[in-house]
């Protein structure tokens, strides 16, 4: 009995720890970087980067999630010429750290590698009108809003007690500040909820046609303008093996499930 249990345990492959996976990914990435300068080693370098990306992917699937890991993963995928997975990794990282400059810069570079079908802007990502200097609000902002609101209420109560105009102005100022910050928080939360309701997807293959329905027999929405690897979209509905997606320009259509990478 004991012998058979031991045999089973020996036969089960050991699951690498998170530290092992990270070390494995880092080693493969460094090996790829070392091969980059040699033009004759391009294939070997890309293989190393693909190995690093696989290790980082396994790490993120085990539950480790942070902007640094996703940056490494995105870089490894990009260097392995897997643009769709690179874009997905960068965007996952930006969901955790929206102000990360390195991630934004790398995502912009990855998007430059996507071949958008001419003519027009079909599939191109929307222009971000948010000023780059304007940071996203951290989670602790809610406590600031609450503190300002409490300060406003207590300030008005104090003004009612002793009638000093200074308390009145202090209370009203706190209310205005709490209102402005609260509105900004609500705006960001709305974006986050929208992201949850319609998560992003990335087209994983070249020449994907946007269909009018969930089947190959349906008409192509934009004949002659296929979607290529790396085009980003939002997922609206799922039906069997088909997904309804919405491009940044508002164009809606169906694509096979196998043709896109889910954002989550």
């Amino acid at each position: 009995m004991g012998g058979s249990l031991l045999t089973v345990l020996l036969l089960v492959p050991a699951v690498p720890s998170e530290g092992d996976l990270l070390a494995q990914g880092n080693a493969a990435f460094r090996q790829g970087v070392a091969l980059v300068p040699d033009p004759k080693q391009t294939t070997a370098a890309r293989k190393s980067f693909a190995g690093a990306a696989a290790a980082f992917e396994q790490l993120s699937q085990s539950g480790v999630e942070n902007a640094l890991l996703y940056r490494n993963q995105g870089n490894a995928y990009l260097l392995a010429e897997d643009v769709p997975r690179a874009i997905r990794a960068y965007r996952r990282g930006l969901q955790l750290a929206p102000d990360d400059f390195e991630l934004r810069r790398a995502l912009a570079y990855a998007r430059e590698q996507v071949v958008y079908s001419p003519p027009g802007t079909l599939g191109r990502p929307a222009i971000d009108h948010r000023p780059p200097w304007l940071p996203h609000l951290p989670g602790a902002s809610l406590w600031v809003v609450l503190a300002l609101y409490v300060w406003g209420c207590l300030g008005l109560a104090r003004w009612r007690m002793i009638g000093r105009a200074a308390w009145l102005s202090a209370g009203l100022s706190a209310f205005v500040a709490a209102g402005l910050l609260g509105a900004a928080l609500w705006y960001e939360e709305r974006d986050r909820l929208q992201e949850q309701a319609t998560p992003f997807v990335v087209v994983a293959a070249d020449g994907v046609s946007l269909k009018a329905g969930n089947g190959r027999d349906y008409a192509t929405r934009f004949p002659g303008i296929p979607l290529n690897r790396g085009v980003e979209a939002r997922l609206r509905f799922e039906r069997g093996d088909w997904l309804q997606i919405e491009l940044a320009g508002g164009e809606v259509g169906w694509v096979p499930r196998a043709a896109v990478l889910p954002g989550r």
Partner: protein
């Protein structure tokens, strides 16, 4: 005996004796491949498949033709969906060596490419073998429905197979290996983030709490403010009472003093009564305040600029009456103005707190 002979005769009748619009292949016992086979209804169906050319290079396209013929037919076949036939699936799955390209889609897509004699139909497909391991096209099954010659009796489904078709696929010469272009990317993409932070589990939770917590956060602070005010009033009743007493006493004394001045009041005394009132009520520093002192004290106490301006105007008029005898304002008018000023100040809600 007669009925038995009738039944035999009916069975011997050709199926075409049944009207076409009566024929509805039943769903019961319908084979999976019936619709994919074209859904033909009739009898004596035969299937044949040919590929031209039968010898080709890897990746080249050949024309696959399916010919279906029937002895009699009530419902001709639609274009068979070959990709759905079980016999072909192992060859057509992704990464398998055969690619089948269906005919172009459109309203006429289901119709045969050729109808030869009313009982023979041909359908064309494009076939592209990708590997030289493809040596034959397997026999393909086609399901049809043969209705009973007696309308009341059910018909039956039948299956016919095409012959296997040999194929010769020649391997193309391997393309010479071309070294891919060197990797040229910005330097920052080659940087690797390291350290324990890479193994951190970062949570991206919501920025706002759920609705109940949000409502609680909105309601609690005002309630706390009101509660604090109520507690303050209970804990320091003297302060509240003092404020009220001070208010009523100062106003009452000022009004009485103004009335006591008689029908011909003295201007400096009117001004002094008003100043004493403001001193008692709002802590005005000077017993003989300037208009600017009065304005400042009232604004600090929370009065509107309009009221503060009126008070300053009153004291300005007092100064004018005292130091400019030619002034048009009489002492009597000034006394009335002082009474009105005190009444206006007392009527202000903010004045309750002094």
């Amino acid at each position: 005996m007669i009925s038995r002979a009738l039944l035999v005769a009916c069975c011997l009748l050709p199926p075409s004796a049944t009207r076409a619009d009566d024929v509805q292949p039943p769903l019961e016992f319908q084979p999976d491949g019936f619709r994919a086979s074209g859904g033909a209804v009739g009898s004596g169906f035969r299937a044949a498949v040919r590929v031209a050319p039968a010898e080709l290079w890897e990746g080249d396209t050949a024309i696959l033709t399916v010919r279906l013929s029937a002895a009699s037919c009530q419902q001709p076949p639609l274009r068979p969906r070959l990709k759905e036939l079980a016999a072909l699936r192992p060859l057509l799955d992704p990464k398998k060596p055969l690619v089948l390209i269906d005919a172009p889609k459109g309203p006429e897509a289901d119709r045969p490419d050729r109808t030869l004699d009313g009982h023979t139909w041909e359908f064309d497909y494009k076939l592209r073998p990708l590997k030289d391991s493809v040596t034959r096209l397997p026999p393909l099954p086609f399901d049809t429905y043969r209705p009973s010659s007696i309308a009341a009796l059910p018909g039956r489904y039948q299956r016919t197979y095409s012959e296997a078709v040999p194929l010769v696929v020649k391997a193309k010469a391997a393309a010479p290996l071309v070294e891919p272009p060197p990797i040229r990317v910005p330097e920052y993409l080659l940087n690797l983030a390291e350290g324990p932070a890479v193994l951190r589990r970062q949570a991206g939770g919501p920025l706002l709490p759920s609705l109940p917590w949000l409502l609680l956060g909105l309601l609690l602070p005002p309630l706390a403010g009101v509660g604090w005010y109520v507690v303050w009033r209970r804990l320091f009743p003297d302060a509240v009472r003092r404020a009220r007493l001070r208010q009523s006493r100062a106003a009452r004394q000022a009004q009485a003093a103004l009335q006591a001045l008689g029908p011909a009041p003295d201007v400096p005394r009117v001004a002094r009564v008003a100043a004493t009132y403001l001193q008692a009520r709002f802590g005005l520093a000077s017993a003989e305040p300037t208009p600017a002192d009065v304005t400042g004290a009232l604004l600090r106490a929370g009065a509107s600029e309009d009221l503060a301006g009126k008070a300053a105007e009153f004291f300005h008029a007092c100064d004018a009456a005292r130091f400019a005898p030619a002034s048009a304002v009489s002492a009597h008018d000034l006394r009335d103005a002082a009474v009105r000023l005190i009444a206006t100040v007392e009527a202000e809600p903010w004045a309750d707190r002094f």
